[in-house]
Symmetry: C2
Subunit: 244 residues, 2 copies
């Protein structure tokens, strides 16, 4: 399994992904699930992936080689805007499905993949998309400024409750780390280290790309202190008057 979350904030895009892959419970490995394309001054595009690793790596390799879209051969470095970038990723997914899908299906293996694509291309605003295994996609909006793929449930309540489009990037980073920590604690198939990317609005360059390991002092602080903060918060709730 996997957990990836993307934020669509006024100040920019934040993407966080774990690195655990597993086949069953004992074939556990570390693979980055985040890929970045950067052309400083022109574009930053980040892709986070969940699902069958052979599928998601095939999608990324095809995007590197180029994919036919609207009669032209494009990569993420050549598409003119974010909408076409999302279409290109969707087309790469469909190309993999066309080639690998029938054999996977014959062997009883589902075509399991989903992807987050966030970033900005000069001339347009930052955008964040979730691309499905069918190659179609949805986009984050001001009303729902985050998208998740993989094991999303454990880390969703904190985002539902407090994340807003106007949340500043540093607070957004704290929130995705808390959301990831909630998931890491509850699901063994999501694992450290984690990859973080920040792309600030109109910077058109990677603002921060960081692999956070178990030795990261800040993440350890979050892990240790968030539980204590929740404990303090619930202890401050009054006892219901109907409970003697």
């Amino acid at each position: 399994m996997t957990y990836c979350v993307g934020l669509y904030l006024r100040q920019g895009i934040v993407l966080l992904s774990d690195t655990r892959t597993n086949a069953g419970v004992d074939n556990i490995s570390i693979f980055s699930k985040m890929q970045v394309e950067e052309v400083p001054g022109d574009r930053v595009l980040a892709l986070a992936t969940a699902g069958n690793l052979a599928i998601t790596q095939a999608v990324w390799n095809r995007l590197q080689e180029g994919v036919w879209l609207h009669g032209r051969h494009h990569t993420l470095r050549s598409v003119p805007n974010m909408f076409q970038a999302a279409q290109l990723v969707g087309q790469a997914v469909r190309d993999v499905y066309r080639d690998d899908g029938p054999t996977l299906s014959a062997q009883g293996i589902g075509f399991d993949c989903s992807l987050l694509l966030g970033g900005q291309i000069a001339g347009g605003p930052p955008r964040l998309f979730l691309i499905y295994a069918a190659g179609n996609f949805i986009e984050a909006t001001i009303d729902t400024p985050f998208l998740q793929i993989g094991e999303h449930k454990y880390g969703k309540p904190i985002l539902d409750r407090v994340l807003r489009y106007d949340t500043p990037i540093p607070d957004g980073v704290k929130l995705v780390l808390v959301s990831m920590d909630s998931t890491l604690r509850s699901n063994l198939t999501v694992g450290m280290p984690i990859d973080l990317l920040v792309s600030r609005t109109d910077a058109l360059a990677v603002g921060l790309r960081r692999r956070i390991t178990e030795e990261d002092q800040y993440f350890r602080y979050v892990q240790e202190n968030w539980s204590a903060a929740l404990r303090d918060a619930y202890l401050r709730l009054p006892t219901p008057d109907w409970l003697s």
Copy 2:
């Protein structure tokens, strides 16, 4: 869907269940998913159920009529201890499976049910069980003092982080309400009102049984203030030094 959670605490058993049933997204009804048997001075047993309503109601009706266990005809009012109470519920599940399972299977409908059984019978300690659709079961322990059925993921992180066997009952009640609120916010198929039961250790009588509606002032306070408390807690986290 459903969300039910049971706490196994030093001070006693707490059980909370929602009341929403749905067939698809538009056939939504309110059904209590919690049943209680009380013989003051002798026993309190509470059953919370998730899954196919026809199955879980059939299980409860059979438990009312009596089920054959170890060559004797028992109800939850006659079994001598909590282990046999869990066995009795499991046997009722198997009896329903024997009678209804083949037809359900022929129509492509899974045999979907799970149950929480908590309580105490004179002469033994309080115990909390989770009974599966196969009629087998697990029991909460001091190490893991809560069990959940139904849509459990959204409400699990708060319990993972702060609930302990030594958590006092009033704090346990706060925590299950927060856990339920997280689930209600994230999953439409879990809905108000909610049913709460408290059985204090060695009281051998229902300590509290309460239907909490949307008008319940305390629950509304929890709903409104927990988000604010989380917001305060994450704002108090320092900004990572690697994020300018």
